[in-house]
């Protein structure tokens, strides 16, 4: 591997670096970490951890502080917002009015009721639980798939994602990207979700096979989609632009103004705790991950 400017910078400052601050966009590999003799801490602002070489961190005894549950409420709010928009066609209705079609074209297409819908949550971590809590208030029935069944949770558990899709009207992706979840939502799962099924993704784009999903949407094999994440952001496949049953969000589900301010406090708090030898505010517990 050639020496990059980043590598040169790191090598020059290596001995003084005790901690790193990361966002989700830049991976930290074992090669990068090898250039730093004594990093004690990585603080990441992202919701996920797939950009960090976790086994290497565990091996080297590097602590990681994540975002904790900071984004869960905003993510859940947006997931619900995207779902209702797709079912009730709110974005389409708003555009209808702005184009002054209401006086001339009269009635607008009907939407679908939320109450009684079977909502399959993929990944029942803190985000999934916040989504469940909200949708229960709308009268939806919650089902879920997760790495492991959660004994304290009453919702019906499906160990197999295909079975979850068959029994759901809606799938909401709230899980981390891992080797198991990469392209977990494939053509088979989408077809099981079916012609009136809706998929919402506020997790990681690679959990869904984007090409297959687009094919299903274009052929009407699923009913609609609400998407906050995409394979090649910010370049979103243009075929999605013309679809009224698809609502797009520019990777903003986790971020409200209030949450960004809270993030700042959390990041600063974690660094201050580390440098004062106090417990981290939001430590990532390694043995829970793999």
């Amino acid at each position: 591997m050639g020496i990059t400017t980043q590598d040169q910078f790191l090598t020059a400052h290596a001995h003084s670096v005790q901690a790193l601050l990361l966002s989700g966009t830049h991976p930290v590999t074992s090669d990068t970490l090898r250039l730093l003799p004594s990093p004690g801490l990585i603080v990441t602002t992202s919701a996920g951890l797939n950009h960090i070489d976790l086994p290497e961190c565990q091996r080297r005894g590097i602590s990681i502080a994540g975002a904790g549950n900071l984004y869960s409420e905003d993510l859940a709010d947006l997931a619900v917002g995207l779902l209702i928009d797709v079912l009730r066609k709110i974005s389409v209705a708003d555009r209808y009015i702005r184009r002054q079609l209401w006086p001339s074209k009269g009635e607008f297409p009907l939407g679908f009721k939320l109450r009684g819908k079977q909502v399959g949550i993929v990944g029942l971590g803190s985000i999934g639980l916040e989504v469940a809590k909200r949708l229960e208030a709308f009268g939806c029935n919650i089902l879920y798939n997760s790495r492991r069944k959660k004994p304290s949770i009453q919702y019906p558990y499906y160990s197999n994602i295909l079975e979850l899709a068959k029994n759901s009207d809606v799938l909401i992706i709230c899980c981390e990207l891992t080797e198991q979840t990469r392209h977990m939502i494939n053509k088979e799962v989408l077809l099981a979700l079916g012609k009136e099924g809706v998929i919402i993704n506020v997790g990681h784009s690679a959990v869904i096979d984007e090409q297959e999903m687009m094919g299903c949407l274009m052929r009407g094999e699923i009913g609609g989609a609400g998407l906050d994440v995409f394979e090649k952001e910010p370049d979103v496949p243009k075929q999605l632009f013309a679809l009224d049953n698809v609502v797009l969000s520019p990777h903003r589900a986790a971020h409200s103004q209030e949450t960004i301010l809270a993030l700042r406090d959390l990041v600063v708090g974690n660094f201050e705790a580390f440098f004062s030898n106090k417990p981290l505010l939001t430590p990532v517990i390694m043995n829970q991950l793999f």
Binding site: E73, D74, D77, L78, V80, G81, L82, I84, D85, R88, I90, S91, A93, D94, R95, Y96, I97, R98, Q100, W102, P103, G106, E107, F108, L110, G111, F112, K113, L114, R115, G116, K133, R134, E136, A137, F138, G139, E233, P234, D235, V236, K238, L240, F241, V247, L248, S249, P250, R252, H255, S256, Q257, E258, T259, I260
Partner: protein
Amino acid sequence: MAPHNNSYPSQHDLPNVLILKLPPSFVIFGEHFFDSAKFRFLKAYESSLPLPQFLLAHAQSVQAILSSGGAPVTADTICLLPNLRLVVTTSQGLNHIDLSECRRRGIAVAGAGTIFSADCADSVVELLIDVLRKVSAANRFVKQGLWSSQGDYPLGSKLGGKRVGIVGLGNIGSEVAKRLEAFGCSISYNSRNKKPSVPYAFYPNVGELAANCDALIICCALTDETYHLINKEVLSALGKDGVIINIARGPIVDEKELVRCLVEGEIRGAGLDVFEHEPDVPHELFALDNVVMSPHNAVFTRESFEDLRKIVVGNLEAFFSNEPLLTAVNLDDQPHFSG
């Protein structure tokens, strides 16, 4: 089509139900949507006669009217129908019916009951999420290809912790409250009367409610008292960070004043399903990204229309069988709207 069966009375023996104007249900589902073997419809809108003459021609035979929001039942109409004993409406609102005149004449009124409350509440929450988190504006941004060319879209505002003020804590208002509590909002309300069994803070007037909330949600009926209830003072009390959501009736809000506040940035944003002069919407709103609009369809789901069909047919069949109505309105409790 109503089933053809020799044990039923022939079409000519069936009692008449008058329909003044084409209801939205017929536009969407066809004119047999409310068919029953127990009554037939007399469609005034299909006649070439002007309405008063049509009514005079059929006066004696009309015992019931099927009304919708766009087909007012006025004192003038009522007075031409001496045998009228029931008005069934397909709408949630009752402001298009002269309730005082119905009460005076002993005419029963049957409404939509609670069938629309869930859909209405869902629409309220969606409009609020959309305005605060910029859902449809961001969707527009992405679909115009601007995310690639212009970069990130501005951040929205979190729902959790917002103080929500509900104007009118009836069935719909209660369903709204239940949903928004799950988002971490705190609920307060103004209503004609304080409700003792309800855990939310009560404000005796709308101005005080507006001054103490971040999102004002209009869920009340349109009456003489609530006409232009949301006026300049209330909007000013709501303030620059405040949002207003209206799924009730356009005339509850002073629309000119609302538009001015939105254009001049005196409130944060608005989610509107209803307008003062539908289907005309003030053009100034079209350029605003902090406004989300829908064409008076907060209750328009397939499932709700099926529920409506059962309620309308059920009420009319009960009436003609001398059985209790399914969703009778208590006229003693209803304030009037002069229109």
